[in-house]
Symmetry: C2
Subunit: 401 residues, 2 copies
């Protein structure tokens, strides 16, 4: 029915490619492009061997080189680009999509290399350009942002007249057996979690020192885990699109060992994003750290345990206070068996493919730039479980918060 | 009386230069040479301003470039070279000294860059060359190795018929106020302490996992500190030169936070000495870590507390068992006031200057390669206190070991 182009050949790119290949009636053929073509070739070979799907083309491209990328898109002529490379590259890929006249989808908002801020302003500024071009740009269609935003939209649509308190809770109770590794790009992960925490309350942002609010939260099938309030990008669009929210927070679990490693990484200067001169070469410490740390894409084998991510919501329905919890648990082992990638890549890649399917099938539409909670959540959630991410909901749940 | 050339302009080079300038009747003039001439100039300017001594020449030199270094030595024509640059450079500097016909002194044994082994074999192999040239090479004349070896020689000469048990105990109870910093070159420090521990017992080396033997030892004026057995290079020459030793160990204090940082540095791969490819450039993680960590030479200001290093010895005198403890305590603040360097640089630099003085004054002599315990300890220890490192001894001390 449609050809798409996937940019990025890390763990998430691998999952998107596997999932597209599982629905050949929708994704009739596709390209995987990344800086390193051999990584694309490896994914294509694995898919051919595991699924027998052989409609994959691969290419090498620098996603920050707009003319080269535009030419590649024009030559391949896909319906849309699914961008699962680096968030630094959102804007150049959006530019190339506009030039080439194709739709766009990503899983993480643009962040300039030189400052660790997570905000949508850069991409929302493309609103008019995409409208004028008659194209759709879907922002943040991974798990969080992505499914958490769609979970919130489901709650607001079907279970509440007004949602007042939103707590997104993200647990990774997996064990990869390594002394230290991040579950996705360490550069992005460390930038994200070392910044000050921030949450929305009573119409404004409240900034807190990193890791200063902590609570034992109980996750389904996992049990209690120390969870910390940190800033996460979907909060920005959710408080905009659900203005009844009195408070919106994001919680993530971290073990003591992980936090110790993080603290030391900061203490020794390896979390720095300013270049330092080393033997006549400018090196950014955090980029070099990424080079020496285990590749998150290689954590899959032997990764046990599961993730649990969901939304805990309190609000009003028919004049009564109500609580509601909606969540997905994902097994690292099952993710690896299916795609040779671990659960954190899986939970990001499956929604990206599903969002692309929504656009291809016309179940989501509109021109301009969209966050996923602006679309109808129902068709997406109808197929998400079949796509590998079963979800559950409970009205009247004990939110603990 | 003599001109000398100091190679190295880090914290130790700074101390050696200050101490030479304090004895102009011995060190009539000297040169400081290092890769970065501006660091030499800075030391020379500080000394001129603090002490009024202005007989310092500076030069830029690559200590691994034997022809260039030989030429520099020949042009300046010193009595001897005091090498306080990197231990990797011991052999090239020894070669240049032989070529130029000048004496040599260092504070740490040669170590090839590609393997973290600490052994004297490489330098002992220069025995014949120095003998034939009629020159003296003094190895390991800092504090440890250096003063600890001379302390042991004093014990063996004056207090025992046979020394049987030697425990060198090295405490740094200072506080530099930084989250993490090493007290000397982090590259060398981390290589040294992350290797397996090793000690001498009953005629052979016993290897143990790093940090596996630990004991609370009480240091004079400091109190109890967690101390760990690790391998330290003077053990090799001491068991050779004092064959009555039944056991020889080296203990160093480490705080829990220091060990946590070290463990994380290893876990994340930053202690590695194999090059990794990063953006097309080969980078050795441990070398890059050195670039981002605080410069040990800059730790002096505000560094409080003191070091305590000494030898705890058990042996036989006149048929009776006897114990003996000899030690120095050094205040970081006092070291900084005098030389603008911290105590660990000070305790290394003062003995280097004192050893050079011994050779210049003919109190130590002989051609060939010598470890410092092979010389007469008395003239050295007679002046060491006056030079800034007062020492104390106690016969019948409680060794705790």
């Amino acid at each position: 029915m449609s050809r798409v182009m996937i940019i990025g050949a890390g763990g998430v790119g691998r999952v998107v490619a596997y999932k597209c290949a599982e629905y050949p009636e929708v994704f009739t053929e596709f390209m995987i492009a990344s800086r390193t073509q051999s990584k694309c070739d490896e994914i294509a070979a694995d898919i051919k061997s595991d699924l027998g799907y052989d409609k994959i083309t691969t290419a090498a491209v620098d996603a920050e080189d707009v003319p080269a990328l535009t030419k590649l898109i024009k030559d391949y002529d896909p319906f849309m680009v699914i961008h699962v490379a680096l968030p630094y590259q959102d804007l150049t890929i959006m530019d190339a999509c506009l030039e080439a006249g194709v739709h766009y989808l990503d899983t993480a908002n643009y962040e300039p290399k030189e400052e660790a801020k997570f905000e949508y302003s850069h991409q929302w500024a493309y609103q008019e350009k995409f409208k004028l071009a008659g194209l759709t740009a879907i922002l943040g269609c991974g798990f969080d942002p992505g499914v958490t935003s769609i979970f919130t939209a489901r709650a607001a649509t079907h279970f509440f007249d007004e949602i007042h308190y939103l707590d997104i809770v993200d647990a990774n109770a997996g064990d990869h057996g390594k002394a230290f590794a991040t579950n996705f790009n360490p550069e992005i992960n460390i930038r994200e979690i070392t910044q000050p925490g921030k949450y929305w309350e009573n119409g404004k942002w409240v900034e807190i020192p990193a890791f200063s609010i902590r609570k034992d939260l109980t996750y389904p099938d996992i049990g209690p885990k120390e969870s910390y309030v940190l800033y996460h990008e979907e909060l920005e669009s959710l408080v905009k699109h659900f203005p009844t929210l009195k408070r919106a927070r994001f919680w993530m679990t971290f073990g003591d060992e992980y936090l110790t490693h993080l603290r030391v990484i900061q203490n020794i200067g390896m979390a720095g994003i300013e270049p330092v001169m080393h033997k006549g070469v400018e090196i950014i410490p955090l980029e070099f750290l990424k080079t020496v740390l285990p590749d998150p894409g290689g954590l899959g084998e032997g990764y046990s345990g599961q993730t649990s991510i969901g939304c805990r919501i309190r609000g009003i329905k028919d004049g009564q206070e109500r609580t509601y919890y909606i969540w997905n648990n994902c097994s690292h082992e099952r993710a690896y068996r299916e795609t040779r990638a671990q659960g954190v890549s899986y939970t990001t890649g499956v929604p990206a493919m599903t969002g692309a399917m929504m656009l291809i099938q016309g179940k989501w539409d509109g021109t301009g730039v969209y966050n996923v909670e602006q679309f109808n959540p129902d068709p997406f959630l109808e197929v998400l479980g079949k796509h590998g991410l079963e979800w559950h909901e409970e009205v009247g749940a004990d939110l603990e918060l």
